[in-house]
Every structure is written in structure tokens, then in C-alpha cells.
Amino acid sequence: MKKSVPLIAVLVAGGLTVSACGSSSTPAASGTTTPAPTSSAAGSPTSDGESSGPTGSSSAGGGEALPATTISVLAPSYADSSEADWKTIIGAFKKVQPNVTVDLQIEAWDGFSDKVAARIQAQDMPDILNDNNYGESADDLLYPVNEVMSPETLATIEPALLKNGVGTDGTQWAAPDIATSRLLVYNTDLFKKAGISAPPKTWTEMEDAATKLKAIGVAGYGMPLGKEEAQAESTLWLWGAGGTWIDGEGLKADTPAAAEGFTEMKKFIDGGLTQANPGSSNRQDVADLFNQGKVGMYVSHSGLTATTRDKFKDIKFAETPIPSKSGTPVGYGVTDFILAFNNKDEARKAATKSFLDFFYQEAQYGPWYKGTGLLPATTDAIASATTDDAVNAPFYQALKTVQFTPSGYKQWSALQSALQATAGKLQSASAADVLKEIQAQVDAAG
């Protein structure tokens, strides 16, 4: 036994070093401290940012030179070009404000909120965050957006969308930077083949269409109840039943309308009218199946339909409003937001303001939003895109009537987490039980 002690020691030490497969991902800000002014604008013919802002504002990225400081931007990747699109703006901004360095960190949407939380916990909050909610406002971590954007810039944003960034306390915590509207997208060839004459308007017609599609061997309706999009999918059915998450001062999941919506979803799942395993499918999984002609219809947005159009030319599709129980279309919209964290540093705050005013100028914002494949949030861009971007006209049309998820409510992030974690259980549990559980999770997280 004595003899083998060193052997054990070596093995344990070796084993521990080898087996230490930790998965801690420390967020490393990709320090682009030296922007290449010309080479970064690869393939995007932007004119250098015109530093003459709207008349009468001295703050639109121009004006007096700011003192040297560094601000950081944390943004999700909407498309492959996202990083390049941001860098183009940052490069142009460097020409206007040579003393201000802008660090950029781009992360995938998958697990994005964990990345944000990691930076908050490391006391390394980005000055500018592009995200799909502003739950951080509950922790008093943010500047109200009107402190870091000039009134002229805020005025360029479509008022209906801007409202979405107002918290329940009445403060404008976030400014929308991108919008999407959702429509039911259906495969016209499959509909013809299944003998469906017109796109469905009510749940009954939708069930009927899905049954006919099932008969020709494809999934009728693509239902993503997985972790990524469960909150969107369940909201569609809740609104389709005429309900809402909002209940007086707060939010409530377990309501009769929600039960009705969830029961209808359950009907689709149990009837085999959806793709296999809806409880663990994400929107992208459903879109992939649609692109392979294995799903007849699903709720989609312009970013996904653009991919179908470009890369899957044999899939012929059309858009139609999202059906509801009564037949009144469900208008579902999402905005993503620009948030500004309060890092208690006036120089950084001034630089942040200067950068955001610069960002929302048409010359910067236009190419940037086009790169995302989604819809713009400024009035001018929406107006010009509605005429230029004919293929997405139905989505712009829908944008006028959309409702949004109640992201201004403090409980929304708890409700969203609960829906993402639990809505997928509809596959095996009853609608009432699932809603009870979701409600309990919201209450426990409160």
C-alpha cells in the first residue's frame, strides 16, 4: 500500500486537471480599440456618417468633441452580418468623436440573458444593451432613455412602438430599435394538394386545414413550445381566445381565457396536427421543417420568410393574419430595445448619448436594421420601407395593428421564464395543470 501512494497522488492530480471540464464562460468584451475606418465597412456602401444632425440639435453625434472615454455595447446577433453592421456604425462614429472608443460584444440570442446577467454580476455593465426586454429597470440599473437620447431622436421612433418601452411606472426605460410582426405563413403548394381552398381565419378552420394536411402526410401546424419561443406561442393562443396576461396592477397566467387558449393548443397536439415534439421545438426548428416542406403552416416573421425565399426557392408560401377563436386576426408584435445602463460616469453617459443619437440617424440606422432582416422602428424607415420592401408589405401592414407582450410589467420576466420552462409540458399534462404550475412559478419567483 505504501508503495502506491505516489501513484495515487499523481493519478488524482492528473485526473483532476484533465477532468476539470468547467463550462464557465467569462464574457470577454471583444476589444476593437483600433477600428479600421475603411476596411470595416465591408460590403455595406454607407456614406460616412453625416455629422449634421437634425436642425436645432447640437447633440446628434456632432457638436463639440467629447473627452476621451470608452463605452461598451452588448448586442445580440440577428444575422451573420450583425457584427459587421455594428462595426460600420462604430467606425463612422469614431470619425465624429475621435476621443470616444466603443467596445463591442456580440453574442448569440441563445442564452443571451445569461450573458447580460454575467456582466451585471461582474459589475461590468455595458453602457448600451440591445435586448428584447428591460427587466433590469426593476433593479434601478438603467438610465431612463430620455436622459441618453435627445428629444429629436426619440421623436423619430414610431410612437406606437415607443410606448412599448415605457415601464408600468410611466418611465421610458427603453427605446425600440427593431420590430417584428408575426403572421401565419402557409405553404401554398401543400394547401392546394390537401384541397384547402382558403387560408384559415378561425381556430375551427385551422383545425380543419391541419387535419387535411395531416392526411397528405405533413404536419399541419408548426407549434414551437420549446424554451426559446414558448412565451410567444402561448401568447398567440391566449390572445386568440380574447384574453390578456394583464390583470389589474400585475400579470396573471391562470385565467379562463388562457385555459381556453391552452386547451385549443392541447387539441392540436393530441390530434397529431402539429410536428412531433412541439414541447421541445424552437421557432427555428419549425422553420427548418417548413423549409423542407414538412409543415403546412406556422407563425413566422420577416426574418425567417426572407431565408425561405432566398434559400428554399421551391417552397411557395403566402402570409395571412393569425387565426383566432372568433376570426378577428391576432396581431402579435415584438420590439427589441436599446437600454442604457447607469455606470455612474458622466463622461460615459455623454458618450452614450452622443452614440445613440448618431445610431438613430437614417444614414446609420437604415443599413443596420436592413442587416437584421427585421422591420425598422423609426417612422421614416417604416414609411420608406413600406413602399420599397414589397415582399414584406403584409408584415408592415400587420405592424399597424399589433399588440405587444406586457414587457413593461415587473413580473413579465418571471412569467416569460415560467412559460419558457413549462408551456412545453402541454404535450403530456392537461392545460389546467400546466397553467396552475406556470402561475405558481410566477408567484414563487415574485
Partner: protein
């Protein structure tokens, strides 16, 4: 890992007399002072990468955090209560899964590795190549291996799914990774697969110490192969087995990537062990609750190791 060379001498029947101690007469404390400079780098390393995070974890478990990790004051035992009673989380089932996970993966790994090590200890042409081949799952990251299995089992385009479907073992459209129970057992298989190399090499190192002449002598004396294995080989590689078992228990208990990647069912389902649950809590409830569960997890791991040490007594003197 560096190659382990051990003296392949037969262990003497009697203990050698200990070498005369040069430092006899100096107190233990003074000797410790002399050793300190040599120990310091290791102590600093352990303090920085083991003790500090562990202390921070325990501290965080008693603080209230928002979902985003913003500290809001003291929490008492609330985080622990939330971690164990959060609605919709089958805590008892997950704890049971964890025990099953550790026991099954470690025992299966050890048994298969014993066979593999025995095989690799034989001399045959191309032994070096085979030994290298066994290393591959070890060289590849666990995340990579798990992702390969995940994609191969995809119901729509996975290679394994396709093969199983053609063999009539699987309905098309059935995704093993999207059902908590099958995903759990699939993860067990993958976890065994990625644990084999380290365990095999540990046991192989132990087997190198088995003296050939003793085995030969036993053979001449008429011991059967089974007797030779049980009475000579096993006692000699006992310490190696002990190390392999201990390291594997810790490693498998804390293994996150395999289950995290292969279990595609969202939320708090019945195919989880406690480690992925810690991460699920981290994103939905913030660091306070997940730290509390980590503390429980650590105690749980210590209990499992204690049970192993008490029942098996792997370091018992012969």
C-alpha cells in the same frame, strides 16, 4: 497526463525500516516553516480557484438576488427553500436521478474499463494504435462528443436515428433527446463513453505494477485464471480502482454538458440531475437560488463519496 512510471518490483513481504529522519529534533512547526516556500504556489492556487469561489458560493446562497444578479440584501434560508420547493420542479425525482446517474455511470465505467485495461495490457501487434484510439473520446471535449450524439439522433436528419429507424428499432419522428426519460439514459451512455479513457488508463497504470513472475508462479502452482485475477491482480490494482472510482464519482456528479446538451426538453423536467438544475435556476431565478442549490449539491456529493468510502473501504490495508 504525464506517463506514470512505477517500479515494477515485487512488493517485499516485510516493511522496510523507515529511513533515519534527518530533521528529528526540530519541531513540527519549524519543519512546516521550512516547507512553506515550496508549498506556497499550490496553496495560493487552491485558495484562488477552489476556496474563494466555494466561500463566495456559500455567501451568495444567503443573499437575495434579482433574476439579473443584482444583490438586494440578506435572504436567510429563503433561497434554499425556493430551490427545494419551486413549483413544477420534481425535486425528489431529480435527487433520485442524481444518485442513479452517479452509481450507474461509475459502475458501468469501471467494469468496462477493467476489461479494456486488461485487453490493452496484452502485447499484440498494433497495441500502440489501439491505445491511442481509446484516448480519442478523452481528447475531444465533452461538449463536442455530446453534440455529435445530439445531431446524430435528430429525428429529421440524424444518422443514428435513420439507422435505428431502418432497423425497425425506432419510429420515425421519435426523438430520444426530446423525452426526459430516454434523454436521461442516453446521457448515461454518453457519460460512460466519455469517462472510459481516463478510467482505462488509470487501471492500465495499475496493471503495469502487477509482476509477471508472480502470476507465472501462481500459474505453475495450479491457480486458475479466475483465482489469479481475484487473488493477485485485483489486490494490486485496488488503489488504482479506488482512485478511478473517486475521481469518477466527483466528475460524473458534476458533469453538466452531457445532460445539458442531450436533454432537449425545456424546463424542469424529470430527466435532470441536480447539476443542470443549478444552471436552469441560474437563468430563471438568479444566482442566489442557484448558489443555494449548489451548496446542497456539494453536501450531496460529499455524502455519496462518504457512503462509498465507508462501504467499499477502498484504501483498506491488505
Amino acid at each position: 497526463m504525464t506517463s506514470v512510471t512505477t517500479e515494477a518490483t515485487s512488493s517485499p513481504p516485510t516493511e522496510r525500516a523507515p529511513a533515519p529522519d534527518k530533521n528529528r529534533g526540530t519541531s513540527g512547526f519549524a519543519r512546516f516553516g521550512m516547507a512553506l516556500p515550496w508549498l506556497l504556489p499550490a496553496i495560493v492556487l487552491i485558495a484562488a480557484v477552489v476556496l474563494y469561489p466555494a466561500v463566495l458560493m456559500v455567501y451568495n446562497a444567503f443573499r437575495k438576488f434579482s433574476k439579473y444578479g443584482f444583490e438586494q440584501g440578506a435572504a436567510g434560508w429563503n433561497n434554499f427553500e425556493t430551490a427545494l420547493t419551486f413549483p413544477g420542479v420534481p425535486v425528489a425525482r431529480i435527487m433520485l436521478n442524481t444518485v442513479v446517474w452517479v452509481v450507474v455511470v461509475v459502475i458501468a465505467t469501471l467494469l468496462i474499463s477493467l476489461g479494456l485495461a486488461q485487453f490493452l495490457n496484452k502485447t499484440f501487434p498494433g497495441r500502440k494504435i489501439v491505445r491511442l484510439a481509446i484516448v480519442i473520446p478523452w481528447a475531444a471535449s465533452v461538449v463536442m462528443t455530446s453534440s455529435v450524439f445530439l445531431n446524430a439522433l435528430d429525428p429529421n436528419y440524424g444518422l443514428f436515428s435513420d439507422i435505428l429507424h431502418r432497423l425497425g428499432l425506432l419510429d420515425s419522428g421519435t426523438a430520444l433527446t426530446q423525452d426526459p426519460t430516454t434523454a436521461f439514459w442516453l446521457a448515461v451512455v454518453v457519460a460512460v463513453f466519455v469517462s472510459l479513457p481516463f478510467t482505462t488508463y488509470t487501471l492500465l497504470a495499475g496493471l503495469q505494477a502487477v509482476p509477471g513472475d508472480v502470476l507465472e508462479a501462481a500459474h505453475v502452482d495450479g491457480a486458475s485464471a479466475g483465482q489469479r485475477y481475484r487473488q493477485i491482480v485485483l489486490p494490486i490494482i485496488r488503489p488504482a480502482i479506488a482512485v478511478a472510482a473517486l475521481v469518477n464519482i466527483i466528475n460524473v456528479f458534476n458533469s453538466l454538458p452531457v445532460l445539458q446538451i442531450l436533454n432537449r426538453t425545456p424546463g424542469y423536467n424529470e430527466g435532470l440531475t441536480t447539476t443542470p438544475l443549478v444552471f436552469a435556476y441560474k437563468s430563471s431565478l438568479g444566482p442566489g437560488v442557484s448558489s443555494a442549490l449548489s451548496v446542497i449539491n456539494l453536501l450531496f456529493c460529499i455524502v455519496i463519496i462518504a457512503i462509498y468510502l465507508i462501504t467499499v473501504r477502498p484504501t483498506r490495508e491488505q
